[in-house]
Amino acid sequence: MKVSYFPGCTLKNKAKDLDMYAYKSAEVLGITLEEIENWQCCGGVFTTAKNEIATKLSSVRALKEAYAKEQSLVTVCSACHNVIKQTNYAMQNDKDFSDTVNRYMAEDGGYFGETEVYHYLEMLRDLVGFDKLKEKVVNPLAGKKIAAYYGCLLLRPSGVMKMDDPENPTIMENFIKALGAEPVIYAQRNECCGGYVSVESPELAKKNSNAVVRNAKAQGAEMIITACPLCKYNLVKNGADIPVVYFTELLAEALGVKEDTNE
C-alpha cells in the first residue's frame, strides 16, 4: 500500500529519528510512505491563529497533492498532524474558510477536505492493525514498562481529531502491548508538557514537564514514548531521568530494523 507522507520540518532537523524509523518500519509492515513533493512547513499553530489563512495554505497544498494521487495522507509529528487535521476539518465544515482558501489557490482547482488524514499511530491501528503488527515483531520488548505520553495536541480537540478518547486514550497503550511491552497507565499522560510557554515562562514549562515524568516514574515506568518533538525536547531539557524516545524508534527496534536504519 502506498500513502502520501508529510514529515514536517522538525523531522528533518531536530527529530530525524522520528522520521527515519517511521520510514523503515512502514516498509516492514507493507506500507510505502511517499513523501509529498516540495512540502512546506505545516504553518505551525492552528489553534492560536485560526483566522490567519496564509499559514494554512501549505497544509492545504499537501492535502491536495495526496488527493490528486488518490492517497491517504500520513503524518507523524503531533503538531503537524494537529494542524493538517484541523485545516482539513475546516475545509470540510467551514464554508467561509474553504471559500477563501480556494480563492487564494484558484488556479489549482477547488478542494473541500476530501483527503483522509491519518496519524502514523492511526495508520498502525486502522490500516495495518495491531494484531498484524504483533505478528511482525521480531524483538518483543517483553518485560519493559513503558509509559505513553500523549501530550496535548495528539488527541484534542477530540471532535476534530477523532483519534481516541481524549481523557482515557488506549491507542498508544495498545501499540505498546503489540510490541510485547507493558504499558504504564498514569494520570499525567495527556497533560500539556508546557511546550508552548517554554520561551515565555521556562519555570512553568519545567513544572509541567517534571510533573509528567514524576508521575510516570511513580507508576513504574522505565521509559516514556511520545510522538511529539516538542514534548520530547521539553521533557529531556527539563531533566527527565528516564529515557524519552519517539514511538517510531521503539517500533523499529521491535521490528528489528533499528540497526540498519542507523547504518
Binding site: 478518547d165 481523557e167 497507565i185 499525567q188 510533573a211 511513580a218
Partner: protein
C-alpha cells in the same frame, strides 16, 4: 348493508379551525350505507354522546363513524356510548381528523379534503365490520416481585397486606438491595438499616410472602392474569429450611480471602458466608468459586461444625414452576464502572473511591467499623474532594457515560459532605458540581445546611485530573465562578458515579416482552398518567428499574405498583381483546410461517380430520390461535402465504376497503 351514522367533531377549534366540519358531514352523507350525518362542537361531551345515542334510536343505526381525535384518546369512550345505545362496541370506527389532519395542515381546503377522505375510509371499513365479543380469562391470585430491594420489599408488603400471596425473587443471598449497604438516609439522616431491617423482618414473617433468594427468573410464559414462570433456585449448598444462621461455619471456614461484595471488595469474607448480620433469610451460602470442598473435594470443615446438619455439598440448582396473575419488576440499579473515567485515577489509587464505597466506609457495620479511614494506609483523610456527575449528564461522551441526570447524587453527596464535617470538623471538604439539583421535600434546606452550617466548600466546576503523588492525590480543577484553576492536595477523592439499570433488566424485558428505553430503563405505559405500569399488560414497575430514584420516591412508586396489582388480582375474570388472529383451517397448509413470527407464542398446531370431496377423510396439520395469548399484532396475517390467517376487526378485506376508499 349497514346503516351507518357519521358524527364529525369540531374539538372546539382544534379541528374546526383547519377543517370545514360542515362540509365534511355534508360530503360523507352520500357515502354507501350512510343514513345520518351530523357535526357537533364536542362529540366526547355528554351532549355529544347523547346525540349519538339519539341517532342510533331514531335511524336504527348498525354502525357508527366518529370523525374526531386519535382512537387512543376516545375510542373507548365512543365504544361505551355504542354499547349503551345497544350496538356492539366493535361497530364503531374512528377517523382521526385531528392529530393526523387538522393539527398538521395549515389551510382549510387541504384539511377539509383530507378529513373527507379519512371519513370515507372509515365508512368503507365499518360497512364490513362484524360484531365482536371479547373472551374472558381467569386471574391467578398471586403476584411475583422480581428484585428484593426496598422497591420489591415495599411492593410485596403492600400486596400481601391486601391478602394476596406474593413471591419475591432475589439474585443475591439476601433481600435488602442497595439500601442495606447505605449508612444514613437523606434528608432526615436516619440510619438506613434501622428503617430497612424491620421491613425485611416483616417480609420474612409475613405468611403471604415467600422469598426465593439466590434465585433468578429463567422463563416467563403466558399473559396478564395467567403468567407461567420458572424460577431457578441456585444451589447455595446449604439447606435453607434447616440452617439457623448461627454463623459457626463462617467462623471456621479456612478460606477467608474472598473479596466481600457487600463491602464492595474493601474487605474479605469466607467461602461460606452470610452477607451481613441482618440478612433475610439469615442462612449461609457457599461460594462455589471459592470453596475448596466444592472445587477439589478437600476440606468439609463447615459440614463438621454445623450442628444442624444443614450443609449439603451435593445440592443442585432447582427449578420451580409457579403461576402468577401479575408481575412487578423491581430490579434496581448499579453505579457504572469507573474504568472509562480514569482521569479521576480510580484504577490508579485506592484512595479514589465511589460514593457507594464511601457509604460502606462510614457505615458502622462496614470494613472500618464506621471510622473514616483511607483504604490505602488507614490514615484519616484531612482533605476530601467529592466529584459530582461522574458519567452523568455526559452528552459529549455518550459511549462511556450516561446522558441523563442520575438524580440522587446531589443529595447523597451533600449528606456525605455534611456528615464528614460533623464527625471530623477539622477535615476540609470540597464538592465540585455542574449544577446542584435538590428539589424534593426538605431537600434544598438540607443542601443549604451543608454549605451554611457545616462549611462544605461547594465549587461550581469540574475536576479535570487527579494525579496520585506520594500519599497525596493532586486534584486539578476549575472554579468557573472565580474563573481560575484550582490545585488541591487531597487525601481522598470520592466519585459520584452515574447509576444505570441492573444488567439483569435487559434479558428480563425480553422474557416479559416489556419495552425499555435506550438506557435500558423500563418504559412506563404513559409518562404522566400511567407511571407504574409497563405497556405490557400485567407487568408493573417499581423503583429505579424505571428511572433514577431516591428512597422516598421509590417507596411511593412501590406502593403505587402494589395498588395496581391489587386492583388486578381483585378481579375474578379479565376481559380480553377480541381483535385477535384466527386461522381458516380449510385454507391453512400447516407451514409454520405464522408460528415463527409470533412473538407471544400464541400459535400452536394440531392434527385435524377433514372430510374430502370424495367422502374420504384426511388428517391435516393446521394452526390454532390461543385468543387469550394473542395480542392482535397482525404479524401472522402478513406472514401466512395461503391467506388463512386473519385478524378480527382488522381483516384484510376491511383494510383493503379503506385503501380503496382513500385511493378512489
Amino acid at each position: 348493508m349497514q346503516r351507518v351514522g357519521v358524527f364529525v367533531c369540531w374539538c372546539g377549534s382544534n379541528i374546526a379551525g383547519t377543517v370545514d366540519v360542515q362540509a365534511v358531514s355534508e360530503a360523507l352523507k352520500s357515502e354507501p350505507g350512510v343514513v345520518f350525518s351530523a357535526n357537533y362542537q364536542y362529540m366526547c361531551s355528554q351532549a355529544g354522546q347523547d346525540m349519538i345515542k339519539e341517532a342510533v334510536k331514531e335511524h336504527n343505526l348498525t354502525g357508527i363513524v366518529v370523525c374526531s381525535c386519535s382512537p387512543r384518546m376516545h375510542e373507548a369512550t365512543f365504544r361505551k356510548t355504542a354499547a349503551a345505545a345497544g350496538i356492539n362496541p366493535y361497530m364503531v370506527e374512528i377517523a382521526n381528523i385531528r392529530e393526523q389532519c387538522s393539527w398538521v395542515h395549515k389551510d382549510i381546503a387541504t384539511g377539509t379534503e383530507k378529513a373527507i377522505i379519512l371519513g370515507k375510509a372509515a365508512i368503507a371499513k365499518v360497512n364490513l365490520n362484524t360484531p365482536l365479543t371479547p373472551g374472558e380469562s381467569p386471574v391467578t391470585k398471586r403476584a411475583l416481585v422480581i428484585g428484593g430491594g426496598i422497591a420489591g420489599i415495599q411492593t410485596a408488603l403492600d400486596i400481601a397486606d391486601a391478602g394476596f400471596p406474593v413471591d419475591i425473587v432475589e439474585t443475591k443471598p439476601t433481600i435488602g438491595g442497595k439500601m442495606a449497604q447505605l449508612d444514613k438516609t437523606f434528608p432526615t439522616l436516619d440510619c438506613a438499616a434501622c428503617i430497612l431491617t424491620p421491613k425485611m423482618v416483616d417480609v420474612a414473617q409475613n405468611e403471604k410472602i415467600r422469598i426465593f433468594s439466590y434465585s433468578e427468573v429463567s422463563e416467563i410464559k403466558g399473559f396478564v392474569g395467567n403468567f407461567d414462570v420458572t424460577i431457578k433456585k441456585n444451589a447455595r449448598y446449604v439447606k435453607e429450611d434447616i440452617c439457623t444462621g448461627c454463623g459457626a461455619c463462617v467462623e471456621k471456614c479456612p478460606m477467608k480471602k474472598v473479596p466481600n461484595e457487600f463491602n464492595l471488595g474493601m474487605d474479605n469474607r469466607s467461602a461460606i458466608y452470610i452477607p451481613f448480620a441482618q440478612a433475610v433469610p439469615k442462612v449461609a451460602t457457599i461460594d462455589p468459586n471459592a470453596c475448596n470442598m466444592l472445587k477439589n473435594g478437600k476440606c468439609g470443615l463447615c459440614a463438621r461444625v454445623c450442628t444442624a446438619g444443614a450443609i449439603d455439598y451435593t445440592q443442585k440448582d432447582e427449578y420451580i414452576n409457579e403461576k402468577y396473575g401479575a408481575i412487578v419488576v423491581a430490579t434496581g440499579f448499579n453505579p457504572i464502572s469507573m474504568d472509562k473515567f480514569d482521569e479521576f485515577a480510580y484504577n490508579q489509587s485506592k484512595d479514589v473511591i465511589t460514593s457507594l464505597e464511601f457509604e460502606r466506609l462510614t457505615n458502622a457495620a462496614g470494613p472500618t467499623a464506621g471510622h473514616l479511614e483511607r483504604p490505602s494506609d488507614g490514615k484519616s483523610p484531612k482533605t476530601i474532594v467529592f466529584v459530582q456527575c461522574v458519567g452523568s449528564r455526559c452528552d459529549a461522551c455518550a459511549e462511556k457515560g450516561k446522558e441523563y441526570c442520575s438524580k440522587i447524587c446531589c443529595m447523597y453527596t451533600a449528606k456525605h459532605a455534611m456528615l464528614t464535617r460533623d464527625k471530623y470538623p477539622d477535615t476540609e471538604v470540597y464538592v465540585f458540581y455542574i449544577d446542584v439539583r435538590t428539589p424534593g421535600k426538605n431537600f434544598d434546606e438540607f443542601y443549604r445546611r451543608a454549605v451554611e452550617e457545616y462549611g462544605v466548600k461547594y465549587v461550581k466546576g469540574m475536576v479535570g485530573k487527579v494525579t496520585p503523588e506520594g500519599d497525596k492525590l493532586k486534584v486539578q480543577a476549575s472554579d468557573l465562578i472565580a474563573n481560575k484553576q484550582l490545585h488541591i492536595d487531597a487525601d481522598l477523592v470520592v466519585l459520584a458515579a452515574a447509576i444505570e439499570p441492573d444488567k439483569s433488566a435487559r434479558p428480563l424485558a425480553t422474557m416479559l416482552t416489556a419495552s425499555m428505553d435506550t438506557n435500558d430503563f423500563f418504559t412506563e405505559a404513559h409518562p404522566k398518567l400511567r407511571p407504574v405500569e409497563s405497556p405490557t399488560a400485567g407487568v408493573f414497575l417499581s423503583g429505579a428499574c424505571q428511572g433514577p430514584k431516591d428512597i422516598p420516591e421509590t417507596v411511593s412508586q412501590a406502593g403505587a405498583a402494589a395498588s395496581k396489582v391489587i386492583g388486578l388480582l381483585a378481579k375474578d375474570k379479565l376481559t380480553g381483546n377480541p381483535c385477535v388472529a384466527h386461522s381458516n383451517e380449510l385454507m391453512c397448509n400447516g407451514c409454520s410461517s405464522c408460528e415463527k413470527v409470533c412473538a407471544y407464542g400464541a400459535i400452536t398446531y394440531e392434527n385435524k380430520e377433514f372430510r374430502m370431496p370424495d367422502r374420504t377423510t384426511k388428517i391435516r396439520r393446521v394452526a390454532v390461535v390461543n385468543p387469550a395469548v394473542c395480542q392482535g399484532c397482525g404479524a401472522c396475517t402478513v406472514a401466512c402465504p395461503s391467506g388463512a390467517m386473519d385478524l378480527n376487526g382488522f381483516a384484510s378485506n376491511q383494510i383493503m376497503a379503506e385503501v380503496d376508499a382513500i385511493c378512489k
